[in-house]
């Protein structure tokens, strides 16, 4: 019989341990996981980008529901274990759910420390630990107002920056004289303070909180109103975030009689004082140390997996750690030990104009600590030397300038990386060594940092090692690796599409000129590549608010018709789901006669194209088509094109559902929406698939039990069958699912990136996690789509045919053609 493994807590540490366990000993255990949080495993480190708006929750999910299913795990979401019965080897959760174990893994993480001041339990006092905390902050931030963050460490500052970018007035209250004093020396702490203040965050250091004050009881249920300091000052507060530190979460273990100190005490094999119980993560104490960064926890996870698989390797050792603050635009790095001491020397570089500060702490010709502010590009190289205890005597004079200059002769920045052995660890968070990255680059043909992230996880967590990964790419690919050539949107910027989308939200940018100013565009007014992309990003990010810039649209979208090689236009009216009528056909025929339109053609999208229309005739042509009830088919737009259908149950002897009706419904619901690239759909009434739904951007295959939702097909420049997203029972469910999917694509897609390319970039796990597995997120996406449709569902033809919009487009400015010849 299989052994039973029970895991308490479902954070980053056990998630990694299980991944490794399944690699080493697939199927060896029946695994049951209890998680107090009501969700699957996600990357806690990346909560800060979610708070600031730079990432969505589903982008930080590590394992979606599908992973648990595929690996046969039982996950009890939202069930907190309250008792470990060590004699009977059974754990019991709050709601009475029980599970018996042969081996138990405790991974309860940490709990935020709450300073015991009056008012600490008031409504509006939050901590910063999990997604619920982030959601609570986001709800508060929607009202605007004042936030006070108590604690100027990593978590507190990330919370402060996030709340600031969400529009709150933020004050940080920190007990010590300088910020992040555990990771930074006083000089760097001071620079950091100035940087945050320049972003409008107020910072009070040497400030001790005396009390959190409540609103007056007559104003309804009491909640926070202000934070009172020891010096008598009072700071207005609508929310208070306490981020003063964390404590290993040991209650469950100590109740069960396991040995605990600051944390649950473990051996270098991560074994507790009970030989059948392991512990991993922030809840453990090893040789007197407790942990608050993910790198050592991932190492522990690997050791646990080896132990459980019966393939023990090296034991756990305590190592130097690196910290980086994840606030966009603030470059800060710290590693090792940088306290002053008689046996230590230091090398300092200050460049006040560039705001750069670097300090290395040396002992016996070895670097033991490094602090960098303003330019952290060489941090990976210094960190590696700390870990290796490399002798720097030879290059001491130029050491501080980084690998490009160190040692005089060594001008090639990749030389240091080239010299690393294959076992050298590149990504501390994910424990990925150089050899693994280099072989993945070669075997899988990887060409970008994103590729390396997807295949090896290196640089996928905190990002500190991105520079090293880039150097490995440069080393492996030589000239073929040109990070600048793949990334930027166009020649007007060094930023890529993803960065621009992120910064639009993070910096609350609402017009193209502001964007070019803020993001330091290199050209005065962009180019024909970036402007349409920016226009789309702003339009889809701020529906109802952003004013469309028609001069930044390609001509087809500007005049709502397709330009032809001779400068005439084509006109394609909608035929909902491919259905037409005698009346519509008559109107099309009349229009063709009246305006002498040379070609009338059936398109590949189940409708009719009128080709060769003169530009000045367009409004009149549209007026006649409008009069017969027809509207623009957006055959010209990065938008919903057609929804092809087959006849379905209406006529077909094999039809299982009303495919025509559903297609018409989808098209009427979704037309007019702007998307990163064109979106084509189809609904087939049975798996014979006469509407060719399995090569569309989104396709539906009707079956007896409901609807299979497909997406990410391609049949143009590339040919690719669709992927199945999910199966639903009703038409309404299908529509909700499809709209949520398209909305997610609208929010994440890069301009001109079709759905299948987007999927390839973001991965099926993240799409399913958002659209299928998370009911709340799906509903929110659906609502966001419905909201944006309020502003896009008016017929652009009618606006121009009879509404007079853009009249300047369709008439010459002056007619000098009858001017007398000048001679």
């Amino acid at each position: 019989m299989k052994q039973k493994l029970v895991v308490v807590g479902n954070g980053m540490a056990p998630g990694r341990a299980l991944e490794r366990l399944f690699e080493l000993a697939p199927g060896a255990f029946d695994v049951t996981i209890f998680n107090a949080e009501p969700r699957t495993n996600y990357d806690r480190i990346l909560l800060s980008p979610v708070l600031s708006g730079e990432k969505q929750y589903e982008e930080i999910v590590i394992h979606g529901d599908a992973w648990y299913e595929e690996n046969g795990l039982t996950l009890h979401k939202g069930k907190k274990v309250t008792e470990i019965g060590r004699a009977a080897k059974i754990v019991t959760a709050e709601d009475g759910t029980r599970a018996a174990y042969d081996k138990l893994l405790i991974a309860t993480g940490s709990v935020p420390f709450i300073i015991p001041v009056p008012g600490k339990d008031l409504a509006g006092v939050l901590t910063y630990r999990d997604l619920d905390d982030v959601n609570a902050m986001l709800i508060a931030a929607e009202q605007g107002g004042h936030a006070v963050v108590i604690g100027g460490g990593l978590l507190g500052l990330e919370a402060a920056a996030g709340l600031k970018s969400r529009g709150m007035d933020v004050t940080v209250v920190h007990l010590m004289p300088t910020l992040m004093e555990r990771q930074l020396d006083a000089a760097a702490g001071q620079l950091l303070k100035r940087e945050l203040e320049s972003r409008g965050i107020k910072v009070l250091t040497s400030a001790s909180t005396r009390e959190i004050k409540s609103t007056h009881p007559s104003l309804g249920p009491p909640r926070v109103r202000a934070v009172a300091l020891d010096d008598g000052n009072e700071i207005k507060a609508d929310i208070v975030v306490m981020a003063v530190g964390i404590r290993p979460n040991t209650a469950l273990a100590s109740d069960a009689g396991l040995k605990t100190g600051r944390g649950i005490q473990v051996t270098d094999r991560l074994l507790t004082s009970d030989p059948d119980i392991y512990a991993v993560g922030e809840c453990v104490e090893f040789e007197g140390n407790v942990y608050g960064l993910v790198a050592p926890l991932y190492e522990q996870a690997t050791i646990i997996a080896q132990e459980l698989a019966g393939k023990p390797g090296n034991g756990f050792v305590d190592k130097a750690l690196a910290t980086r603050l994840k606030v966009t635009g603030v470059d800060l790095f710290s590693a090792g030990d940088f306290a002053d001491g008689d046996d230590r020397e230091e090398i300092v570089l200050r460049d006040a104009t560039r705001g750069v500060y670097r300090r290395l702490v040396l002992k016996d010709d070895r670097i033991i600590g490094a602090v960098m502010f303003g330019d952290t590009s060489d941090s990976g190289w210094f960190f590696q030397m700390i870990k290796d205890a490399a002798d720097i005597a030879e290059m001491r004079d130029s050491l501080i300038f980084g690998p490009a200059y160190a040692g005089g002769g060594q001008l090639d920045p990749t030389a240091a990386v080239a010299a690393l052995p294959d076992e050298a660890e590149i990504c501390g968070c994910n424990g990925v060594c150089k050899g693994r990255i280099v072989s993945a680059i070669a075997e899988k043909g990887l060409t970008s940092v994103d590729d390396v992230r997807a295949h090896t996880k290196a640089s996928a967590s905190c990002g500190t090692c991105t520079g090293l990964v880039e150097q490995l790419l440069a080393l492996s690919l030589g000239d073929a690796y040109d990070p600048a050539a793949v990334k930027p949107m166009c020649g007007c910027t060094d930023l890529g599409h993803a960065d621009v989308r992120r910064l639009i939200i993070a910096k609350n940018i609402k017009t193209i000129p502001d964007l070019m100013q803020e993001l330091e565009w290199k050209s005065s007014s962009g180019c024909a590549k970036c402007r349409p992309a920016l226009n789309y990003y702003l339009l889809s990010t701020w529906p109802g608010e952003y004013v469309d810039d028609s001069q930044s649209r390609f001509i087809n979208e500007r005049v709502h018709a397709n330009i032809q090689k001779d400068g005439t236009y084509s006109v394609v009216p909608r035929m909902w789901g491919g259905i037409t009528s005698a009346n519509e056909l008559r109107a099309i025929a009349d229009v063709a006669d009246k305006f002498a339109i040379p070609t009338v053609k059936c398109t590949g999208g189940q409708r009719i194209d009128l080709l060769g229309v003169k530009k000045e005739d367009l409004p009149a042509v549209w007026a006649d088509l409008n009069a017969a009830g027809m509207v623009s088919g957006h055959a010209y737009g990065k938008s919903l094109r057609t929804v092809k259908t087959c006849v379905g149950t209406d006529w077909c002897r094999f039809g299982t559902q009303d495919s025509t009706g559903l297609g018409v419904r989808i098209e009427k619901f979704m037309w007019g929406s702007w998307t990163p690239a064109k979106v084509k759909m189809a609904v087939s009434g049975c798996p014979r698939n006469c509407a060719e739904a399995t090569c569309k951007d989104v396709g539906v295959i009707c079956v007896d039990s409901g609807y299979e939702i497909h997406f990410a097909g391609a049949a143009g420049l590339d040919i690719k069958g669709t992927e199945i997203l999910c199966h639903v029972r009703t038409e309404d469910d299908a529509i909700e699912m499809i709209a949520a999917l398209v909305q997610l694509y609208r929010e994440q897609g890069h301009y001109l990136e079709r759905i299948y390319k987007w999927l390839k970039r973001v991965g099926m796990g993240s799409v399913r996690a958002a659209v299928v597995e998370d009911d709340g997120r799906r509903k929110a996406l659906f609502d966001a789509f419905v909201y944006s449709q309020k502003f896009s569902q008016s017929d652009p033809w009618a606006e121009r045919a009879t509404g007079g919009k853009d009249a300047h487009e369709f008439a010459p400015m002056a007619d000098l053609s009858r001017m007398e010849a000048a001679e």
Partner: protein
């Protein structure tokens, strides 16, 4: 230089052309495209791309250049020359804006053979 050099015709108001946009002027020798940049400079060019005759007036205007709508050649509004790797040239015409009006120099409009 001919005696017609100083014939400036009032074509319309600057406002009639959208910023970073273009309008057409019909002339006996074909259509001219009248461009207005983000900084309100005006330029007049043949509405004919040197590549395959695409209507430049329908392109996207950026800086002092326009990208042809058919195959994305970029044409300088100042010189009429194709930018980057492409080679070709469009005729340009003298035009100026004064007190919100656009004045076009008309001496060459009637003679289609008078290439610069």
């Amino acid at each position: 230089m001919t005696m017609m050099d100083n014939v400036w015709i009032d074509i319309g108001a600057l406002e009639d052309i959208p910023r970073q946009g273009a309008r057409l002027v019909k002339t006996p020798m074909g259509c001219l495209a009248l461009f207005r940049t983000a900084t309100d400079d005006v330029f007049a060019l043949d509405d004919k791309c040197p590549h395959k005759g695409g209507p430049l007036s329908q392109g996207i205007v950026h800086g002092a250049a326009v990208t042809c709508p058919l195959h994305n050649w970029v044409i300088s509004l100042e010189t009429g020359l194709a930018q980057g790797a492409d080679e070709g040239e469009v005729r340009t015409f003298a035009v100026r804006s004064e007190a919100g009006r656009i004045l076009l120099e008309a001496s060459r409009l009637a003679d289609s053979k008078d290439a610069a």
